[in-house]
Amino acid sequence: MNKYRLFIDPEKEEMWINKIQQDGYRLVSNTLDFIYTFEETDEKYITRTDYQNHMSKEKYDEYLNIHEEFGWEHIRGGRFGMTQQIWSKIEDGNDKLFSDRDSKINFYKRQMNFTGSLAFLFLIYSFIFEPVTGNNLFLTSGLWDMQGTEFWRAFLFELPFAIMRFLPAILFPIAAVLFFVSYYKSDQAKKALEKEK
């Protein structure tokens, strides 16, 4: 079974996956960030997300090996820090990736590094693709002076192009805001843990 979903907030992604897994499924792969493939299972699977910065080949091997020794199966991730790391295992009571405050705080810091830089990137994109409005949206000359079917034909013909011109200008700021929200949430969670120290 495939499900299509695009997550900005890793915590929401983790909760969403685990909710589906409670109904007798397990995540087998996550392709291109938005295609989640599940299959039916009788076991109870739990999924956790992690984020790691760029790792050397040796470090990445150690990262994979240690998690696999604990029974975690690597569903998604790589060594270049471009995506979340997704880990799944059959529930056995030892179902967290982090067991002490320091390592959980470090996890939030890495996560914030990721969401923070993406927020910043999309913010820059938002400025590059500043909204095209009014007359510049449709480039057919004299479009607004046309009448009747001639107008509609020209208008509908150019509509997809106009949308393509307009869409980045709204999607990039939205992405920037969502990444900032996710960044802020990690920061709050991190600060709450630091207070306990």
């Binding site: 992690d50 040796e58 470090k59 091997d61 150690e62 990262y63 090996n65 240690i66 998690h67 020794e69 604990f70 975690w72 880990w87 030892n94 967290k96 990736l97 982090f98 067991s99 002490d100 320091d102 390592s103 470090n106 996890f107």
Partner: protein, 102 residues
């Protein structure tokens, strides 16, 4: 100035004590669990982060060949010195406890 990471956190301390003999990831967790009477159960991500950090400071080293699947770690000479410093520090604390107030 004190060497880095000192005083050691509970997790790092137990991992270093366990690594006085060569061990791989899961065995470290098992031994730490046993040493702490079941109180400390280290999760995979925490263990990876701690090993990475200890390795960065050369307190432990990777014994196995990088091409080998199973990764085996052990405390280095420097690591042993660090453990000795912690031993002295904790002995001092115990003597403070035993002397009572003042």
């Amino acid at each position: 100035m004190r060497p880095k990471l000192l005083p050691l956190s509970e997790t790092m301390h137990l991992i270093m004590l366990a690594l006085r003999k060569p061990l791989h990831g899961y065995a470290i967790m098992q031994l730490v669990n046993e040493m702490s009477d079941g109180q400390v159960s280290i999760a995979a991500g925490t263990l990876y982060g701690a090993l990475d950090n200890l390795k960065k400071h050369h307190y432990i080293e990777l014994l196995s060949d990088p091409s080998e699947r199973k990764k085996v770690y052990q405390v280095t000479k420097l690591g042993e010195e660090i453990l000795e410093l912690e031993n002295q520090r904790l002995k001092k604390f115990i003597s403070l406890y035993e002397k009572g107030e003042g």
